[in-house]
């Protein structure tokens, strides 16, 4: 169990001054972040056990849940993201007679930013929240304690497969999102903006570079680690029964979204400025 510190300080509403309340929030944030990173490091160290039958099965299941089960929603979101991008940029470019350049705009935006970003949001909202809810329920029903009693490390048994699954599947799903987004943009270009699909594809590959693609995939990889870490930590540190599970789920989505935005900006700045 991770959360004795929380139990003592987080939910005891002491009559304290605002400055002390702020200090408590900062201390709790540092505590949470430190605990989460320790959990992440511990789970990373257990990756060496990935090929053991049970770990492999659990990882395959998580890959399946994260990847295959999310394909439906990702397909729709990716397709429409590309279509919206193409339509918005195309309508503006049409004013200058440059609508043929939507291929470039959609491709660069998708592979640099929107692909990893949209995939991260979808996975955080669907898989991340599910992980938090599952682990939170296990925590409040003391299944985690039972595992520890049986000398099974929750980081190895529960966190590591999810971490590996998300870290591997996020870039894979991002490639899928990129392809569908670019296709969606091409369909809008050919049906709404009078740009032939061939011209769209020629233009799409004109300015995008491999660096854009791989920086995007690197972002997705980092997002996968962030989502799995936040979700597992929030789930494992859940207290107070069903209410706590709901809170953990909500916190997972909020923190993941914020982290995706902030870290996404930092990676972009790191590679492009």
């Amino acid at each position: 169990m991770i959360a004795p510190f929380k139990e003592i300080y987080r939910y005891i509403d002491l009559p304290i001054k605002s400055s002390r309340r702020l200090g408590r929030i900062i201390v709790l944030a540092c505590h949470d972040m430190g605990n989460a990173l320790i959990m992440l490091a511990s789970a990373t160290l257990y990756i060496r056990t990935l090929w053991k039958p049970r770990a492999r099965y659990e990882t395959a299941m998580q890959l399946y849940v994260t990847g295959i089960k999310s394909l439906g929603v990702i397909t729709v979101v990716a397709f429409f993201t590309g279509m919206i991008l193409a339509l918005q940029t195309g309508l503006e470019l049409r004013r200058f007679g440059q609508e043929v350049n939507i291929g470039t705009a959609v491709t660069v935006v998708m592979i640099r930013e929107m692909g990893p970003f949209m995939t991260g949001l979808i996975i955080a909202a669907s898989v991340g929240s599910a992980i938090a809810a599952q682990l939170g329920t296990m925590a409040v029903s003391e299944e985690i304690s039972a595992l520890e009693v049986m000398s099974i490390n929750p980081n190895r048994f529960l966190v590591m497969p999810r971490l590996v699954a998300l870290a591997v599947m996020m870039p894979i799903l991002t490639v899928y999102t990129n392809i569908l987004g670019i296709l969606g943009g091409g369909i809008v270009g050919s049906t709404q903006l009078g740009v032939s699909f061939q011209a769209y594809l020629d233009n799409a590959t004109r300015y995008a570079e491999n660096k854009d693609l791989y920086v995007g995939l690197f972002k997705a990889f980092i997002f996968g680690i962030i989502i799995s870490t936040v979700a597992c930590y929030q789930g494992l540190s859940t207290i107070e029964g069903a209410v706590g599970v709901g809170r953990a789920t909500r916190q997972t989505v909020i923190i993941s979204f914020l982290m995706i935005l902030i870290i996404g900006y930092m990676i972009t700045r790191l590679f492009y400025i």
Binding site: A60, I68, I172, V175, L213
Partner: protein
Amino acid sequence: MSDKYIKDLSIEVLVGFFMFMILIALGVFTIVLSRQNFFQKKYPVAVCFDEISGLREGDQVFLRGTKVGTVKATTLENNHVIVRADLNSPVQFRDGYKVEVVSSSMLGGKLLKIYEGPLSALPLPKDAVINGEKPVDILEELGSAVASIKKMTAEVSAGEGTLGKLIRDETVYNDLQAIMANFRQISEQLAQGNGTIGKLLNDETVYADLKKTMANLQEVSGRLANGEGTLGKLLAKDDQLYQDISASMANIRSITGNIQSGEGTLGKLINDDQVYVEAQKLLKELGAAIDDMRETSPVTTFSTVILGAF
């Protein structure tokens, strides 16, 4: 095999298949974005520039408006930029060739444009150094154009030059005003029917005369068309008159021929000077006779008077 094992296996296979497909897609994506065709033979070409104005690796190379390759690398060597490009087809550079970096669109981006030289020119040797043109910086050109416009507007504002004088000098305005006043006066006179043009515009007599003339002309042309009158007969399809005139002309030609050859009285009168000589002699004799008569006239008169008394 148990159902659970089969289920686990199928999940692993499904996940593996999905990842495999996506990895293939990633590979294709990578190859496409690297803009390389591994199965096509490449023809490398190096061009030396003073500057390349932002041309980058991966930019396209165009020959006669068609894409023929991509830029592979740009390197700085000995105060020059060497641009290395891979072409899909060999290009034979000739005297008068031109290689330049141009903007691919108004939104930016560059491309390498090759003109291999006129077909009639001598081909360059294979080891010849290909030199590129200095690229035209559109922003710089725009800047200089804006500076020129600013200078021009300043001159115009200061009243310099024809345009400046047109705008600043009131003489032209005054002249134009005077011209307009004249025009107004002329139009008023025209409206009142003064002067020849005014009468033409206002008096219907000219119109009536013109109408009458046109009617006459119409009648004349009708008569001509109907073959009436001499001119009408001349213009008529019937060539009788022409035949008659032609016959008369032939006769006249025959008569004049006879006259010229001295035949007949008229011919002899014209060609034979005997009549002239005889006539001259006659005139001389007549003159002498008149002189004789003049000399003898007083004697005759006196004799007549004297003798008349008896």
